[in-house]
């Protein structure tokens, strides 16, 4: 059987960054498997700008950002196979993949899962009504519009205020469509504040909070939606219905880490993030298999996805050197925090925590404590569920648990 030191599954931003860093860290054969014909993942369909501000100090388009990493991966000597769909991963790290050239198995010493995420669908929401044509997730519209120049409609309603939905509100407006509104069931926006400004406010597109689609109508093609306001428990408020004629409904109602391979491999999942349960080394419950990027938890900035890919590669490299056996301390969270990742940190190492709050808030304090001593204390002028918060713990002490709290 073919062998590799490290197999990386998924050639989007996380996988590309991991490939580069793994080679830099001295890993021998690094094999990157990507199912699309080109590397870069979803970045390739993101023709808007704003990528790389943190990383490269300039706002690039998605393909530009991807191209930089593709070049770096090539220069670093990572091997990549495109058009390769991974169909199997065993706990012993045998990776099975299919290409038009055949079905292949490769035995890896370590594996990084950088499989990205998929969009939540209308079906998952269970919106009643008919199932006419003209209802799409934002990512499908983005791909077909940006990569294939296809158009979808002239009268658009966008359900959900995720970032791709906001981006597509602007994009479809620029293509001459009338975007009637972006509806968000929650009382606050799910997308980044900068996207609300640049994609909605600059184009006079209303963002309707605490309102969502109640019914979808149309026998063959969608004709209109009925929307309604919702109360704080998410229930429809009778009498608040309005009918909006439209010929396309775009859904941007959340992203789900894609982990079918991991699940089939027996890797334990975190029901909150939808990603694998990982320790401070980004290693899953199966030794030698690591997870990063949107497949681990959904990020809001690609720069941070790349960074997490790099950390996964460093940890995989350390694992290959036999240098990551360390005791772990559990991480717990208090109310107001939706999740923290990882759930265990390695004693004596730097610890990186990613977390999201449950509700928007102002002037709060985020504290990380361990055994009575404060490790990190951060004043938060503004906390948004849409913005991932990252904390660094310089030296994780040997203690009962690390606690993260918001007050």
């Amino acid at each position: 059987m073919e062998k590799a030191d490290l197999v990386i599954i998924g050639g989007g931003p996380a996988g590309l960054a991991a490939a580069v860093r793994a080679r830099e860290a001295g890993v021998g054969r690094v094999l990157l498997l990507e199912r699309n014909p080109i590397l870069g993942g979803i970045l390739n369909q993101c023709i808007h700008d704003g990528f790389g501000v943190i990383r490269f100090g300039s706002a690039m388009s998605g393909p530009e950002y991807a191209a930089r990493f593709v070049d770096m991966a090539k220069d670093a000597g990572a091997e990549a196979v495109t058009g390769a769909m991974v169909v199997g991963l065993s706990p012993e790290r045998t990776v099975t993949y299919i290409t038009p050239q055949g079905l292949f198995e490769v035995q890896a010493k370590a594996v990084i899962l950088s499989t990205g995420c998929r969009e939540r669908t209308r079906g998952a929401l269970g919106v009643p009504g008919n199932r006419p044509a003209g209802v799409y997730t934002a990512g499908v519209v983005q791909y077909l519009m940006n990569m294939r120049n296809l158009s979808f409609g002239r009268n658009v309603v966008i359900m959900g205020s995720g970032d791709i939905g906001l981006i597509m509100a602007r994009r479809m407006t620029l293509e001459g469509a009338k975007v009637h509104c972006v509806l968000e069931k929650l009382p606050f926006c799910s997308g980044l504040p900068r996207n609300v400004r640049q994609c909605l406010e600059d184009f006079d597109i209303p963002l309707c909070l605490a309102e969502t689609v109640k019914e979808i109508h149309g026998d063959d093609h969608i004709t209109h939606v009925v929307t309604a306001k919702v109360d704080e428990k998410g229930r429809f408020i009778p009498g608040s219905e309005r009918t909006i004629p439209c010929d396309v409904l775009v859904l941007s109602v959340g992203l789900i880490p894609e982990n079918e391979l991991a699940k089939a491999c027996g890797i334990e999942m975190d029901p909150v993030t939808g990603g694998a349960l990982v320790d401070g080394h980004l290693m899953t419950g199966v030794p030698g298999i690591f997870s990063c990027g949107n497949g681990l938890h959904v990020h809001d900035l690609v720069d941070l996805v790349s960074e997490e890919g790099e950390r996964a590669a460093e940890q995989a490299a350390a694992y290959l050197r036999g240098a990551i056996e360390k005791p772990m301390v559990p991480v717990t969270v208090s109310g107001g925090i939706r999740y923290v990742l990882p759930r265990r940190l390695a004693v004596g190492e730097e610890g990186y925590l990613s977390l999201r709050v449950t509700l928007p808030g102002r002037d709060q304090k985020l504290t990380v404590t361990a055994g009575g001593s404060v490790l990190v204390s951060k004043r938060m002028k503004r906390c948004m569920p849409s913005e991932m918060i990252r904390l660094k713990v310089k030296n994780v002490p040997d203690c009962q648990k690390v606690e993260v709290s918001l007050s």
Partner: protein, 488 residues
């Protein structure tokens, strides 16, 4: 004008079974179907269960044909490459009254000639399906599940392979009596036939009236469903039948692909093709399903859908509506099949044989020497072993190009589905043949890839249909590309 001995109106499972049955003989047979593909109505919108035959009134046509159909179903599926799985089924109850009802059901089943029925207790139930809360159940050993889409499709394609003509996208708009049969307007076609077989399902009353027999009224009765991702349910679980409720009660079903279904409800509606799902019914489905199986995870919902039963009994009528399968009493060139609701698919082959016998009670039929009884559909790549997959990729590299990630469908399969033998069009024809867009991502990955394949075959975006002619999933190209901004 094309002439046929037999024109079948309606390409549902029954129409296709009749077409397949008649394709054995030296006859000119055609099927007129209003949708883009066969099996698009009630035949594709159900639980996908092969019924053993214990639910139907002893002595009825339904009971007789269902039991016969159930017994022959597995071998038909093997002959025609239709996915089938003999899961067995549980009909569950909670108290002494339910237990008595189950015993009655067993007695009824046995009267109908159903084999393999037994009463089991709570422990035996949970040994079979952990997590069920019931105290008693009837276990039916011979109940099975199958792929309802491929059932109609493979019957049709097998019939086409033996010379039957399929006129898809051809709604029948006029039926004129001719000297020795009918002249039928079906979509863009004018066809003549000696005998018209009316298997038009929800529209069978209208077709019968158009052909000169206005004696029937169909009462559409909708059933709504939840479709869940693949889970760990092993067999269909039904509640004890309650009198006065249309349908078999809200049940849990595992599909032949491993998905879980919740449904169907039973509500009379006005429009025969109103396939909407509704909030109160979906709420009710969730509640009833969780009563049957509390561990059910509703976070794995993939979608909702509805099917409509063509009932012969009105709302509130306690009467039993048996299948009507007969030569019309008013129009001698018309064979009517009316009220073919559940268990219509299970019974479809015996129904077809009954139609054949009615058609040719006084005539000898000549079998064609070159009749091919078997049919092979598109390879189901995901179900194959690694070695079989390797072999297919070596034969055709398109089998190594995975177009649908959730269901592992390859480009080669989609290509074959696009060029299917009955000329079915629309993305739906690919979906129902290969399972693209049926998985948990609802087409988030594969829809665009199928669209790209259609475009690369020269199809204009505005000419791509999704489920029905002209439903226009795409408006055209964006400004300045290829053509002007859409068509109005």
């Amino acid at each position: 004008m094309e002439h046929f001995d037999i024109l079948i109106v309606g390409g549902g499972s029954v129409g296709c079974a009749i077409a397949y049955t008649l394709s054995r003989y030296d006859l000119k047979v055609a099927v007129a179907e209003k949708e883009l593909d066969v099996g698009m109505g009630t035949s594709g919108r159900n639980s996908g269960v092969v019924h053993a035959g214990f639910n139907n009134r002893p002595g009825s046509l339904m009971a007789k044909l269902c039991v016969a159909g159930s017994e022959g179903f597995e071998s038909l599926c093997r002959l025609l490459d239709i996915p089938y799985n003999k899961t067995g089924k549980l009909v569950v109850g909670y108290d002494e009254a339910d237990k008595q009802a189950l015993l009655k059901l067993i007695a009824q089943g046995e009267k109908n000639g159903v084999k393999g029925l037994e009463l089991i207790d709570g422990d035996a139930i949970r040994a079979m399906e952990p997590g069920l809360t019931a105290s008693w159940a009837m276990y039916s050993r011979n109940t099975a599940v199958f792929n309802p889409f491929l059932y109609s499709i493979h019957l049709a394609e097998a019939a086409a392979q033996n010379g039957v003509r399929f006129y898809l996208d051809s709604p029948v708009t006029a039926i004129d009596a001719a000297e020795n049969g009918y002249i039928v307007r079906a979509g863009a076609h004018t066809l003549s036939c000696r005998t018209l077989v009316n298997s038009a399902g929800l529209f069978a009353d209208r077709i019968s009236a158009m052909a000169g027999d206005p004696a029937f009224t169909i009462y559409p009765c909708r059933g709504e469903y939840y479709l869940l991702d693949k889970g760990d349910l092993k067999l269909p679980v039904y509640p004890v039948p309650r009198p006065g409720v249309g349908g078999l009660g809200v049940h849990l079903t595992v599909t032949v692909d491993g998905n879980i279904l919740i449904g169907p409800s039973a509500d009379y509606i006005d429009a025969p093709e109103d396939y909407s799902t509704t909030e109160p019914v979906l709420d009710q489905l969730r509640a009833e399903a969780q009563k049957l199986l509390p561990r059910l995870n509703m976070r794995t919902v993939i979608g909702t859908y509805a099917g409509v039963r063509p009932k012969l009994v009105k709302k509130g009528e306690a009467n039993f509506g048996d299948f009507v399968i007969e030569r019309s009493q008013r129009a001698k060139h018309l064979i009517n099949l009316i009220g073919i609701e559940s268990p219509g698919i299970t019974a479809s082959l015996p129904i077809a044989e009954m139609v054949r016998d009615i058609l040719f009670e006084d005539t000898d039929l000549t079998e064609k020497p070159d009749f091919i009884p078997t049919y092979r559909g598109i390879p189901r790549f995901a179900e194959l072993t690694r070695d079989q997959q390797r072999l297919l990729i070596a034969q055709d590299p398109d089998f190594g190009d995975v177009v649908c990630r959730c269901e592992t469908v390859t480009r080669a399969q989609v290509k074959q589905a696009l060029h299917n033998p009955i000329g079915a069009t629309g993305i739906i024809a690919v979906k129902n043949r290969t399972r693209v867009t049926m998985g948990r991502c609802n087409g988030g990955y594969c829809f665009q890839r199928v669209v790209e394949m259609l475009l690369s075959e020269g199809k204009a975006p505005v000419d791509i249909d999704f489920k029905r002619r002209g439903d226009r999933p795409l408006l055209g190209y964006v400004k300045g590309v290829g053509e002007s901004y859409g068509k109005s």
